[in-house]
Amino acid sequence: MTNLNSALPPLTEQITLLRWLRKNLFGSWYDALLTVLGLWIAYWAVKGFLTWAFTAAKWDVIILNLRLIMIGQYPLEQTGRLWLWLAFLVLLSGSSTGIWARESKYAAVVFLLPGLLALLPFSTEPRVWLVALTAIGLAGWVIGRAKPEILKRGVIAGWVISLPVIILLTHGFSESGTGFWAVAKTTLWGGLLLTFLLTVVAILFSFPLGVLLALGRRSELPIVRWFSVAYIELVRGVPLITILFMAQLMLPLFLPEGLTIDRVLRAMVGITLFSAAYLAENVRGGLQAIPRGQFEAAHALGLNSAQTMVFIILPQALRLIIPILAGQFIAVFKDTALVAIVGLFDLVGIGKTVLAQPDFIGLQREVYAFISLIYWVLSYGMSHLSQRLEERLGVGKR
């Protein structure tokens, strides 16, 4: 009897696998046909790509230009400042994970990534920094888990000042022209660094702007409402690339002689204003999904209109549209690639300059495959993060 019992499980499992195959892949003759056809196409595509990637592709172009792709022409002497703010961000992420994602025991695995990257053929300095980042991230996580209540406020404050810190460190503040703290002109910012900064600034500024526009569109004051509607419809009616062209080419015509606005700043403003219009409509969708009873209950308790919005309506509306917001932020991230067309050297722009060098002509496939990989990894990261956030905020939802 015991023998029979101990012998049964593997047998059942085999049958289950076979049944699963029959049910899901070979249920009927056309299922079987589709399965075979699909497998064949997948095999053909993957085989083609892998063969190219491991035999034909000349990845040297990436290795030789990695610095350029990451930070563009950013001065070597001041690169340490970028590592500094990266370390700051990793520390904040580490402790935040420790504090707010306590229940997921393996969340810290993500901080092993920089350390793993150090295995790639970088020079010594980046390797040391990458290993340090892993150490800092894990340390932040451990401390965050150990003392969540004490650290909470500090970590939130850290996030609040993180953008000014990033911009200040990237830009530098010593006018002397040399040395560690010397100003690094924005024309030298490039590659992933520029793409990252454009994205972060556009997201952080278009979010409040979009919420205000959404509220404006629902306002009872006609002038506020008309302005919001006009702005949203005007901006949504033109492609982003035309806004960028106007910011880069037409704006100087209207500015007084001698006054110039930084080109990177103009791109940031252009993308922010563009994104805000779309965000406004997404937020409005969320606001409309909140039942009237929520407004009435808040008003009946004596909350004024602003308190009702801040404490009752917006928290619910924004939570509802998290997937849409994540989608939009990913779109903003990828749309920043358009600045390459107006002459900035973001990831795509720097890719074009790499390919313009005589040594690397004809290597488009390698360069664009690598750039796509960077975009994909970061987009997927944002998507994953938004799903975690959704799960977390889902507690007690209707």
Binding site: G293, H299, A300, L301, G302, Q316
Partner: protein, 249 residues
Amino acid sequence: MNQSAETIISVQNVHKWYGDYHALKGVSMEVKKREVIVIFGPSGSGKSTFIRTINRLEEHQRGKIVVDGIELSHDIRNIEQVRMETGMVFQQFNLFPHLTVMQNITLAPIQVRKWPKQKAEEIAMQLLERVGIPEQAHKYPGQLSGGQQQRVAIARSLAMQPKIMLFDEPTSALDPEMIKEVLDVMIELAKSGMTMLVVTHEMGFARAVADRMFFFDQGQIVESGTPEDIFRNPKEERTELFLSQILSH
């Protein structure tokens, strides 16, 4: 006249239109402190609209409403003042689903009355004990039964320490077995001396605690009187007919 007979709500000849539809056609009512008023009538009779004009969730277009000495006009400060003194309980509870029970109750006292958080939470716990669900304080509304949610809604209104409580069909969305737990809380509240206006068809509640009853039909008050008068010998045919319809089951 003694202290308890002081008028706290005065409604004079109030009219209300939704577009062309004349929802309230000259409604007048005087409510004294500590009185419990039950308002009933067929659906579409304007009873809900009427009770919602008292804290200005609906705007009246003609006539005069004075609550606790404050006239309701377009002046937003007056409206907010009246809303602070007036609690309201809705048919659909309208709890805030993203906040815990405790946060639902303490939000307005902290933000509007500017109480310190600790005081607000102490009072919230007392109220939750009064409505019989102190153990639910840290749950979200979605985790509670309908009856429990409505008791939380009552506690939430009481936390603002209002002088008047308005109830807009508080038991109509509840499963039958939960109606009693809510009515018990309301009866206790009525006996404690709260001024209450209740739109309801729970005639048992009316018999138990109502001082006066008002029968609404087609935007007007058709008849009013003590529960004794209304149940024993209604003067109007419409009242008698309506009562026979709702009491026949």
